[in-house]
Symmetry: C2
Subunit: 206 residues, 2 copies
Amino acid sequence: MTGHSHHAEPIEIWFDFASHYSYLSVMRIEDAAASRGVAVRWKPVLLGPIFRAVGWQSSPFVDQKLKADYAWRDIERQCRKHGLDLVRPRVFPRGSLTPLRVAIAGGDEPWIGDFCREIMRMNFARDQEIDSVDAVSQALGRLGLPAAAIVAQALSDANKNALREQTERARQRGLFGAPTFFVGGEMYWGNDRLEDALEHAARGGH
Amino acid sequence: MTGHSHHAEPIEIWFDFASHYSYLSVMRIEDAAASRGVAVRWKPVLLGPIFRAVGWQSSPFVDQKLKADYAWRDIERQCRKHGLDLVRPRVFPRGSLTPLRVAIAGGDEPWIGDFCREIMRMNFARDQEIDSVDAVSQALGRLGLPAAAIVAQALSDANKNALREQTERARQRGLFGAPTFFVGGEMYWGNDRLEDALEHAARGGH
């Protein structure tokens, strides 16, 4: 089926590098989509303002200790199931503004998937800080990309504003957590819905 | 494999008849477990006191409107996927104390699975009240069971206390929502984890 589903609808992945359940989907989506002939649109957002708009102080995985502890156990099991490394980060949730700005600047570039996976690996497989010019430059450098030029664009006022606008669009569309997938107007919340969303996309959103 | 997995661990399903995601699992678990040679232990609990212990006023699917609306859309899709009827109840969450008392009284009876499915169908497929002696008597009657005797036992002080104790045990084990599955000491939260929990059980909890 690869590459031949002319009627397939693209899938949007709305995510934050700070989000542990986003880690699972960011690592999996490109292969899973390609095998169904579905194109991926990357939609980085800052979850903090979205959680505050819903009325939460922080992530439900921080505010509620039982659920927070369970989520890490669950993610350990899911990582084992999908063959993903996991080192529980000493800091959670990590600041993610700088790599989100790079991701929105590079949203249509051929390296966007590689970059998102590299930042996610730094946070959740190598327990490294991700929210600095240094951190994103190293990630871009490892991908053989011109880090200085990309970072300069990412830190421009226009691009900072683009991330703000994208976060506001997420809020307007009813997003309340990440990862969230959109296929046309249909919203799917959570890594557990990646496959259902892809099936829907492969059928052309019907 | 059916019936020959001598080393399989039982699976416990902790649920409330008021819980819409529990509907999906209560309807599916017995067939899914049988096909893997896994025994089912039914663990009815009253979710209200558990939510209050976690610090919530009510279900997160009531307090948070965005999430609540999404959950119904998600459940519609899941019901279609699993071939289950769904009529969105006019009242949610419905009172469920009376059928929970019957379920704890009949926990080891051969009719427990049928009874649980019948009450769930009343709530989520037929939009009927479930929290009265009348409602549970009709359900028991449709199963050909001696309703009056079963209800009398369900309403005894000892049995009321058994439900209170079971709810307290749930809280002590870290349960924060339903359905929740236990396989030995391993906890799995949510209908989306039924299959993983069953695989773990079929491997004998290893």
